[in-house]
Symmetry: C2
Subunit: 433 residues, 2 copies
């Protein structure tokens, strides 16, 4: 099926300013509450949120096999489970209806009032009910930087790293949507030189610049997914900030991996940009010098996407400080390889599962995806516009991730993924017996 | 509120043979399909499965605040979310109605026909929709055994182990109910002496004897749980077999922990035994020589339960071979400490979350909870009744976990947690492009 929604010449009758992340070629999916307190699945064009529940009720999806309430839900899981053919029919239809030559909705003031909202009038919610959240570790630059800090340059990459898209399980309950404030977590840490741990708020709170993909119900338990068919099971992508407490992590992570240092919160951007929308920005994935085992070896070489990524720190006075500029295409292991690896043992993947890329660091110092790397373990503080410095995050810091694709054909973006650090809560309630 | 369901003198009008895991003092909760293809929440007394959906519809819960459809569901999550007060009212009422002196249901043949099934006539399903699955590593004996094998006796326990109930996130999608066959998983392994990994079915497939507890919606994101209030948020317990592919684990687990070596399947027993039912078997938890930090320090010392555990291997000829006899009370870190630790950073816990104990090994060689330990890394094969030996599991082996509490006052048990190993599937579908 042709993805007509990607037609680069199409314009919408809704206004879209130059440089906007959400032209009619994007058509992402999200969940929001309207001014009337109705929760619905929607899409976005320009500065407008479109209520797809109402759009469907008013007949604009006629002819597409959809259940009546598929968009009147508080998560996209059921729609995602409908599969790629349905996603394409829906996205193509939305593009047609909002095409500036199409008068059907354009000239129906009553319907427009029901369907279309100013984005500032709606509140974005979690787009999915995350079944399982997996986080990979697929940036060679990131793994090398971290390895160099911990084990020296010669032993930076673990022996398995070039053979396996290393990953681990995260916590789904604490995945939150952009805009949710993040409490500085408490935990055990081992001070330098000490032999006994202490308890208190994390002193080395970090962000991690990541993307994540969302799967459909991809396979039954016991049945691996072919690496060349893996992308068909990916609905779309979001930005992900995998908040990390480095001091808690250092003390807890041996031998079973990060746990409380990560599971206090992970923030995702609210609009899921479909893999179909990203298709015009497909690009070569890095050449893998060590040939992967056959189950990880795709038949094509264009397995990545050119997605520009940025991290900005907003201090309490409103100053915006760019911390990092990276790109999704730097990732060594591709999404298809991650999904093929995840399922090769028969592990089943469901609609609404979230799979993080791991921190995406680029080759240069200004493209590192975490403060751990940007400040080289806290040894090189970063100077901010307000005259302060940072090694790790301060209370009041607002972290903003952005991601977008841009070429001669146009621009498709993810919007923002933000989270502001709040001071630790009082723990008086832990003291009573 | 008194837990009258625990009255040890009570007898049911339903027959219960001596030594049965399910006397009227147990009243566990599970989900099953009846002979009429109806999915319902139920309980069990003796060899009878009781349809609580029908029981409620026919008025036997009158006076208890419950929604009409609370038991007509395919998971216990909503009932668990109702909280401990409701669980107790429900369990007490079931005990009253099935008390041999109570004629209400006993003498109503029509109602009995609707409500009561032979357990062999129903099919047990997953009792919960697992939100997040966490697995701890809380047996000192197990951690010491594994550490000794990998790093020698002097460095067996990691420095953090006596300070932290070490845990990590598992995969919820592949948690299956007892009786589900387990496919031998494929994966990457590094043969001894090799520098390049190979791909194939796991050759060191192991079981892990564990229990797990199931939580209610315990806390909001950002708010830790007091260790002395933690148990109030635990609905009940099940047996857990955390299947493990040791060869895959060895190659993949550094630095982020086990992933594909564990997430192909984890099996739980179908009946959730409530913490209330286990109360008469409460016992001292091991004395912790290194004093835990205050947030992990309970005010009482009776934080464990005396639950006898057994592992049996059934070979294809039907021979039953006891592999291990252990006890839940050996666990160094208690469930309350695990839950307090899990949430101390603000991580939120939801109704239906599953938290595994980690392999429960006892102090003697015949009480080890995994083949890795029982055969000391494969060096000491186990002789079976049929004349064969095992280091790790063969295709066709059926693993049976059992757990029960028994003292002068009576017996409460979990029934069985079983899984049979099937040979690896054909991977022809991975070969096509």
């Amino acid at each position: 099926m042709e993805i007509t929604a990607n037609n680069q010449n199409r314009k919408s009758w809704l206004p879209v300013v130059e440089g906007c992340d959400f032209p009619i070629q994007n058509i992402p999916f999200g969940v929001f509450i309207t001014r009337d307190d109705i929760i619905t699945i929607g899409t976005r064009i320009g500065e407008y949120a479109i209520d797809l529940g109402a759009f469907h009720q008013l007949g604009y999806f006629n002819g597409i096999p959809l259940t009546d309430d598929i968009f009147m839900q508080d998560s996209l899981n059921d729609f995602i489970a409908d599969g790629r053919k349905t996603w394409r029919l829906v996205r193509n239809r939305i593009a047609e209806v909002f095409d500036k030559e199409n008068p059907n909705l354009r000239d129906n003031e009553k319907h427009k009032e029901i369907i279309i909202f100013d984005v500032n009038e709606v509140e974005m919610l979690m787009p999915i009910d995350v079944g399982d959240y997996t986080d990979f570790y697929s940036s060679k630059e990131h793994a090398t930087n971290v390895g160099t800090m911990f084990r020296g340059k010669d032993n930076a990459l673990m022996p398995n790293w070039l053979h396996i898209p290393v990953g681990y399980h995260g916590r789904s309950s604490s995945v939150v949507v952009s805009g949710t404030n993040i409490r500085r977590p408490y935990g055990q840490t081992l001070p330098n030189g000490a032999t006994t741990p202490v308890f208190g708020p994390s002193q080395r709170l970090d962000m991690e610049l990541e993307t994540a993909f969302i799967t459909t119900s991809a396979n039954d338990l016991g049945k691996p997914i072919n690496v060349n068919e893996a992308e068909e099971n990916i609905f779309g992508m979001v930005l992900l900030n995998d908040w990390s407490a480095r001091d808690i992590q250092k003390w807890e992570y041996v031998p079973l991996g990060p746990f409380l240092s990560k599971n206090f919160a992970s923030t995702i951007s609210p609009w899921i940009v479909t893999l179909d929308a990203l298709e015009p920005f497909r690009c070569e994935s890095p050449k893998q010098k060590i040939e992967p085992l056959p189950y990880l070896k795709p038949s094509k070489t264009t397995n990545s996407f050119d997605i520009k990524l940025e991290v900005t720190l907003e201090t309490e006075n409103g100053d915006l400080n760019t911390l990092s500029t990276s790109n999704f295409k730097y990732l060594y292991w591709t999404m298809a390889q991650q999904l093929a690896h995840h399922t090769v043992n028969g592990c089943n993947v469901r609609a609404g599962d979230l799979m993080g890329s791991g921190t995406i660091s680029g080759p240069t110092e200004n493209s590192y995806g975490s403060l751990l790397e940007l400040t080289w373990g806290g040894k090189k503080p970063i100077s901010l516009k307000d005259g302060t410095t940072r090694t790790f995050l301060n209370d009041g810091d607002n972290l903003i991730l952005r991601g977008y694709c841009e070429n001669k054909k146009g621009r498709i973006g993810f919007g923002k993924c933000t989270g502001k650090i709040l001071p630790p809560i009082s723990l008086n309630h832990l003291k009573k017996d």
